[in-house]
């Protein structure tokens, strides 16, 4: 796919990234007591920032959200580094970003509909 500046495609990519991050957080909370488990996170924003050229266009096929283990949080005695409070904070932030993207997408479709219904 060629480079795009289409807002709908960007929002779609953002929503996909936040969905993946939500899954990572859910997995982290599920593994709260698992010995040796290191928390998962989704990597997307930085890759997107790098892929953007000076005109604000990017090839979104090349920028895929992916899971990684940050290994930066303090590890508990059982080798696990998940903190429930921190995960809940991430979840709240994630939900707010997701909601923002969906609302913006919705607004964009309303705009298109308004353009179609002009008589």
């Amino acid at each position: 796919m060629a480079k795009t500046t289409n807002i709908v495609e960007f929002l779609e990519a953002g929503i996909r990234a936040e969905s993946l991050r939500q899954m990572a957080i859910t997995n982290n909370i599920a593994n709260l007591q698992t010995p040796g488990y290191r928390r998962l996170d989704a990597k997307f924003e930085l890759a997107l920032a790098k892929a953007l050229d000076s005109s604000g266009a990017a090839d979104l096929e090349q920028v895929k959200p992916e899971l990684y283990r940050p290994r930066q949080t303090p590890v508990k005695s059982n080798g696990n580094d998940v903190n429930l409070e921190a995960e809940i904070g991430e979840m709240v932030k994630n939900a707010l970003r997701y909601k923002t993207y969906v609302r913006l997408l919705n607004k964009k479709y309303q705009q298109m509909e308004a353009a179609i219904n002009v008589r």
Binding site: E85, G89, V92, L96, T100, R103, N106
Partner: protein, 134 residues
């Protein structure tokens, strides 16, 4: 945790929750060891105290800086049959005062709740802003 993005209040509230969570484990350790006459080194348990510090300069939230032992006097009670009793029959007890710990427990739980309240309110504020996009 350092605050780096636009969701500052969330990170700050979470740092408060985390600090109070650790504080709660310290208080429960004090309560659980209120009668521990031996801490493994032949001395009675000393109550622990959490020291909080503001993280970063200003808007960085809070962190539990260190856990220090209370150097206050250890009370002695007469219990001649106790294996840790001295020649006069007195046992040195931990300096844990249960009523004080109960007050600290209430304070810690309330502080945790206060941080959750801030988090919830901020979440609602952002959602109000998002209503503008409907």
């Amino acid at each position: 945790m350092e605050v780096t993005n636009g969701f500052g209040p969330i990170d700050i509230a979470i740092s408060g929750m985390r600090a109070q969570d650790k504080n709660l484990s310290i208080i429960s350790s004090n309560v659980a060891n209120a009668q521990s006459t031996d801490n493994g080194k032949g001395e009675p348990y000393r109550r622990l105290e959490a020291v909080f510090k503001a993280a970063g300069d200003g808007l960085g939230g809070v962190r539990l800086d260190e856990v220090v032992e209370d150097k206050g006097d250890l009370p002695k009670i007469l219990r001649p049959g106790h294996p840790d009793a001295d020649e006069q029959g007195y046992v040195t007890m931990p300096n844990v005062d249960l009523p004080v710990e109960m007050i600290n427990l209430t304070l810690a739980a309330r502080a945790y709740q206060a941080n959750v309240a801030v988090l919830k309110r901020y979440q609602r504020m952002v959602e109000t802003t998002l209503e503008l996009l409907r």
